[in-house]
């Protein structure tokens, strides 16, 4: 049972990392790591900025044939 729960937790972690769903938490943790009182953007702002960055440079995140 324990192994099963661990496997499920690992799968969840992997999926979130693989899809980059964890990007926001990672960024907040990164900011807080440098300055515990840093102003952090809301998730909405952060995700907007992230997709819009691809607009500016389409070679970022380009996929292959």
């Amino acid at each position: 049972m324990n192994t099963l729960r661990r496997a499920a937790r690992w799968m969840r972690w992997y999926t979130r990392e693989f899809t980059d769903e964890s990007a926001y938490e990672r960024y907040v943790a990164h900011l807080r790591n440098h300055d515990p009182h840093a102003a952090v953007p809301s998730r909405r702002e952060f995700e907007r900025k992230r997709t819009d960055a691809r607009e500016a440079d389409p070679t970022e995140g380009f996929r292959c044939c």
Partner: protein, 721 residues
């Protein structure tokens, strides 16, 4: 000094034996059907040996990866694009980025020469060339803070080589987009089921985009699951549509489809990324990983037998209907992505190197991902070779060769030396609910037939064949359409940059007229080749695919040349052969192919001979088969002039890059002290992370020492350092 453990000797001897037995069974079984399990065994055994020994040698001896040297992800960590990413996650990212339609299409076409030549090159090529290129490019880009291939070429070689590399990338991108679009057109033409379900992916993606932007930002997993459910619904609904009175609306001729695809590509590439491109990326990545995983399971569970011969007569004579030319060099050109792909150098430099946690991990990420891609190519080869060869050739020969009805096709295939009755051809089309399977060139439909064969044996039986066929078509079309959008954006970006030197406003990426003009220009150029391909009397895939292969392999030559130059410049002359030999081989193959495409006296191979023959016939007032009218004759003349010129241009560009590299290399060899490297300075790494998939005993101890020993502990560690 490591001691050799007897256990490890036994294990690796066993692995080598599995591979050797696989190869022996494939090579020696003449005149009888061989199980695909031997192909899988040969491939996996060889990969294991290549990974364990050759990639380790490259990492330790040649590149001298240093686990104490901080990677750009650690040094420049900004929590967004630079951040140390778990190696198992990054391998997934990297694989999803490099694997696409290429490794699925190439092997299917190469199957015309039998399964053996293609399989040997897919496996040998990846171990000695393809995976090496990916890993070494990744290494050098990582040492340069994730610089792109073009930037590295400019900095380390010079402005001429750099500029030639840039133009080559743009030209190659154009051909790539045209050929990919052609594959989609060939797969969707006259197929209401396929056209409807692919059409539905647009509203589904728009909904997903809205969901992520407005409703629940960043919830990628849940929106992807919703998207996939809707996608499967669209797939099922496709059958209802095909059987309903709407069928005619979605039954489009190739010409009409071209127009739709061009209009779609211009609009999609101008819309904001969040609306269409980002959600489509999620969908196609999920579909890609899922389908490839299912296919691997399907092949291993059903263990089908290969019906194609090991080596067909087309291999030696070189007059095959799918693509013209002899085994050398055209098998290597056709396989392209599954063994060695120049495009991977664009991914291995740029995005991935900014996320590597530890230098030692590039072996798993660069070399390992490419081995996985090669395995995808092997599965495509299996899928193409388990279907009846008669059906294979009816599907892949151009209409000009086999005619437009099952009777004529059956006779034409008999001339190739294979038998399939008209009834069997009609039944095969009916089984997947398509009106016809004749001349469905481009690889995707053939792959879909193979996939439906395998999947229906595991899930759902013969009744599900049609569903799985359209599932496979959708899966390919989905990521090709995403590639058209993304590729057009990249092309536009380059064009904006170039025009910006002359007309300032073009530089501003947000200047709308600039965006529209450049997007339309890029689409117009690849759209021209797509149009040409669809209306080519000699068969678009037959004419354009070799050009795509040449372009891709020439890009690989550029990447390998940059790698070799960097090896020499960084004082690794002794090891320059590691990329030097693949470079020499690749150059010989591609320049021979370009030479033949330009100068060959055989009109089926040489574009200019073709042009001359058709021109002469026009002057005599004759119509040469397979052209049907004088208009067709003129089309052939124009097309072969354009494609021939392009083949020559590619070769010239690459010779320029190679010459510039040679100059830099000679200079570096003569005066090693005088070279300047643009490597980022050394910084001590503070991160602790395992190199391979599974942490070794020593690595576990190191992890435990810094308090991140448990496997789940490592997931939170990316940030802290």
């Amino acid at each position: 000094m490591r001691t050799v453990r007897p256990r490890s000797v036994i294990i690796w001897t066993a692995v080598a034996l599995v591979g050797a037995v696989g190869w022996a069974m494939l090579a020696l079984a003449r005149g009888e059907e061989v199980s695909a399990v031997w192909m899988v065994a040969a491939a996996l055994g060889s990969y294991a040996i290549g990974y364990r020994f050759y990639s380790r040698f490259i990492a330790k001896k040649v590149l001298k990866v240093d686990k104490n040297r901080a990677t750009p992800a650690e040094r420049l960590n900004n929590g967004v694009d630079f951040h140390p990413t778990d190696r198992r996650v990054l391998v997934g990212h990297h694989f999803a980025a490099i694997a696409g339609a290429g490794p699925l299409v190439g092997p299917v076409l190469a199957a015309q020469m039998g399964y053996l030549p293609g399989t040997i090159w897919i496996v040998a090529g990846v171990i000695l060339a393809g995976a090496v290129q990916d890993m070494v490019t990744l290494f050098f880009s990582m040492r340069r803070d994730g610089k792109s291939l073009g930037q590295m070429a400019r900095e380390e070689i010079g402005p001429v080589g750099g500029a030639a590399a840039l133009v080559a990338v743009l030209a190659i991108m154009i051909i790539l987009l045209a050929v990919l679009a052609l594959v989609v057109v060939e797969a969707l033409a006259e197929s209401p089921w396929g056209t409807f379900s692919i059409g539905m992916t647009i509203p589904i993606a728009l909904f997903m985009g809205f969901y992520l932007r407005v409703l629940r930002p960043g919830r990628v997993t849940e929106v992807s699951l919703i998207g996939i459910a809707l996608l499967l619904l669209a797939l099922v609904a496709g059958r209802w549509v095909a059987e309903s009175s709407w069928a005619d609306t979605f039954t489009l001729s190739p010409g009409t489809l071209v127009i739709w695809i061009l209009v779609y590509s211009v609009i999609a590439s101008v819309l904001p990324v969040w609306m269409l491109l980002a959600p489509r990326d999620y969908l196609s990545t999920f579909m890609k990983v899922g389908t490839i995983g299912l296919l691997a399971i399907g092949v291993l569970v059903t263990l089908p037998t290969l019906k194609m011969e090991g080596i067909t007569d087309f291999a030696s004579v070189g007059d095959g209907p799918v693509f013209a030319g002899s085994l050398f060099p055209f098998v290597f050109i056709t396989i392209a992505c599954g063994a060695l792909s120049g495009f991977h150098a664009l991914i291995s430099s740029g995005t991935t190197p900014k996320m590597v946690q530890k230098e030692t991990q590039i072996r798993m990420i660069g070399y390992g991902s490419m081995l996985m891609e090669s395995f995808v190519a092997i599965m495509a080869m299996v899928a193409a070779c388990i279907i009846d060869p008669g059906l294979y050739f009816s599907m892949n020969a151009p209409a000009g060769v086999i005619g437009d009805n099952v009777q004529a096709a059956s006779e034409a295939v008999a001339n190739f030396g294979y038998t399939i009755s008209p009834e069997e051809l009609a039944a095969a089309a009916k089984a997947v609910e398509e009106s016809s399977l004749l001349s469905r060139t481009g690889g995707a439909p053939t792959l879909a037939i193979g996939v439906s064969e395998i999947f229906s044996q595991v899930f759902g039986g013969a009744g599900m064949k049609a569903f799985w066929y359209h599932f496979a078509i959708m899966f390919e079309a989905l990521f090709i359409l995403t590639a058209l959008d993304a590729g057009t954006r990249v092309g536009r970006f380059m064009l904006q940059d170039m025009l910006g030197n002359v007309i300032k406003p073009f530089r501003r990426v947000s200047w709308l007229p600039g965006i529209w003009i450049c997007s339309a220009a890029i689409v117009a150029v690849w759209g021209y080749f797509l149009w040409v391909g669809v209306h080519e009397p000699l068969g678009g895939i037959n004419q354009l695919f070799p050009l795509f292969g040449i372009a891709n392999q020439l890009l690989a030559a550029v990447a390998l040349a940059v790698c070799t130059t960097l090896l020499i410049k960084s004082g690794r002359l002794k090891w320059a052969w590691v990329t030097g030999i693949p470079l020499a081989w690749d150059t010989v193959v591609t320049l021979t192919a370009s030479w033949q495409k330009v100068f060959s006296g055989d009109p089926a191979v040489g574009f200019f001979q073709q042009r001359a023959d058709y021109q002469a016939a026009i002057e005599r007032g004759e119509v040469l088969a397979p052209a049907k009218s004088m208009d067709d004759m003129h089309t052939v003349v124009t097309n072969s002039t354009v494609t021939g010129t392009l083949a020559a241009l590619f070769a010239v560009l690459v010779i320029l890059v190679l010459a510039d590299c040679t100059r830099v290399c000679i200079k570096a060899i003569r005066n090693p002290a005088g070279t300047t490297l643009h490597e980022a300075p050394y910084e001590q790494s503070k991160l602790v992370a395992p190199a391979g998939l599974i942490a070794t005993k020593e690595e576990k101890e190191e992890l435990a020492a810094v308090g991140t020993g448990s496997p789940e502990g490592s997931e939170k560690r990316g940030e802290s350092g």
